[in-house]
């Protein structure tokens, strides 16, 4: 650390999409810094530009305005220093669990023995032992999402970008996955940028929670989450902790201000501006 450059720096980012009916402004100006080892969560109303911001950091889209840096170097495209876990499923259906998780290592040219060792450790870590040779369609939604997380982790990127990775998972599984993710992050000390709709999820996982306004979104608030027991995060102690609950309420209030505002125009406003 030692006050080095930020892992991620977003400076004056603003993005417009070209559509049939002219440019659509996806975000207002966004400035953001994420330090090494930090777990930053981002909440905001649907269509406010969260995915757009994440895609720009990942290098999938070129910002209309502003600059993005990773480790002080400008981002010009996707790279293996920034792993991504997608909102929709993106593991390959024709590869087994083992081959999906080891994919990044294969691409990096890791020696098979070393790769197998890393993959085996991650399979244990995400609780998929016994399913190594299954195909994704033989797994539950939660298990598939764990494969996706493990694949990104195995490639050992500097920064992990996650876009609502647990949105499509049932509530019970989600709790487990969140705990697993918290544990994984605590043990590997990764830098994570995590998008979610869930206020509790954001506070539970994040060291810092960012709240966005409705589209075109900008970051309107930033709440630090003190973490007293970094290793042992679980939902029981989280829900029992009055300080955490107070933070949740604070974030919820900030989010609901935006939701309330969008209700008037409706969520459809994110696609077609209301007349």
């Amino acid at each position: 650390m030692s006050g080095a450059v930020d892992k991620i720096e977003v400076a004056g980012f603003r993005h417009f999409f070209q559509s049939e009916s002219g440019p659509v402004q996806a975000t207002s100006i966004i400035d953001l810094r994420i330090q090494a080892g930090e777990f930053v969560t981002l909440v905001g109303p649907s269509g406010c530009g969260k995915t757009t911001l994440l895609k720009a950091i990942a290098g999938f889209i070129k910002p209309s305005e502003g600059r993005i840096f990773c480790n002080g170097r400008p981002v010009t495209g996707p790279g293996r220093d920034r792993g991504v876990v997608f909102q929709e499923l993106a593991i390959l259906p024709w590869r087994t669990v083992r081959r999906n998780i080891g994919h990044g290592l294969d691409i990096a040219g890791t020696k098979p023995a070393e790769r197998d060792r890393i993959v085996a450790r991650l399979i244990d870590l995400v609780g998929l032992r016994g399913f190594e040779d299954r195909y994704p369609h033989e797994l539950s939604g939660g298990m598939r999402q764990r494969v996706a997380v493990a694949r990104t982790w195995a490639a050992d990127p500097d920064v992990i970008l996650m876009d609502e990775p647990f949105a499509a998972v049932d509530a019970m599984t989600r709790l487990t996955l969140q705990e697993e993710l918290a544990r994984l992050c605590a043990t590997t000390n990764k830098t994570v940028f995590f998008i979610t709709h869930g206020v509790e999820e954001a506070v539970f996982l994040g060291d810092r929670v960012l709240v966005m306004t409705r589209r075109p979104g900008r970051i309107k608030a930033e709440i630090a989450v003190p973490r007293r027991t970094p290793g042992g995060r679980d939902w029981e102690s989280f829900t029992a902790d009055p300080e955490m609950q107070a933070i949740c309420e604070q974030v919820l209030r900030l989010v609901r201000e935006e939701r309330g505002a969008t209700l008037v125009a409706g969520d459809g406003a994110s696609v077609v501006p209301a007349a």
Binding site: G59, P78, G79, G83, P93, W94, G104, R151
Partner: protein, 275 residues
Amino acid sequence: MSIATTANAPPQAFPSALSAVLRPLKGLRIVLPFAMVVAIWWAIKWHWALDDRVLASPAQVAIAALQLGNRGILADYAATSLRMMGIAALISALIGVPLGFAIGANRVVARALEGTLRFLQGISGVAWLPLAIIWFGFSDTTKLTVVIYTLVVPIIVNTIVGVRAIPENYVLALQSLGASRLRIMWDVYLPGALPSIVVGLRLGMGYGWRALIAAEMLVRRGGLGDLIFGARTFSQIDRIMVGMVLIGTLYIIVDRLLVQPIETMTLARWGVLRK
């Protein structure tokens, strides 16, 4: 629940007893319609007392088939056609698949070429025969040109369809794992598009076989089209009909015993996995 069990139970009991009796009948179910066609053919011949110079009877055709078969003539003509088909299929796949990838990889290009491909599909391979004969004479090259043209268009179209159907996230995820373009082609596009490519190949083989017979009738120089068109000169009705039966039979054999198993295999292996 109770509905499901009651609905499931009886079919369990019936087939076990019935299927043992019905299984030999399954072959019959396929053969029977053929037998009926032969019966109708025979009935027409008898009812109108048609001359042998107009329509040969199934028995006469069978005898002619035995005679031609014994002298190795049938095998010779059939081998010529099958070899042409094999060569054409191979070359078409080698041209069509890469072309389909090149076009399909870019949405704009794929859209732009959609009309052109449809236009070309409209001009059947047979319609190219006059030009091909002027360019290449009455040669194998002319036949190959026509058949390859016929095969390659459905292969290109289906490869494009297969590539376009691959979720963008698969590609983005691999880019974030540091994959090169070639790697993405090999690990995502090829396996992702494979089921569709095989469907295109199978369709193409059907069209191509018909085009080949037509081309052989005009170009001559061997093949089943040559056999039946040559027999016309001496009004050898039985020969013509032997050739026709063989054309249909070979198509079924190639399609059912060769192409369809490949399709079933890839669909089972990849198609289901894609879901």
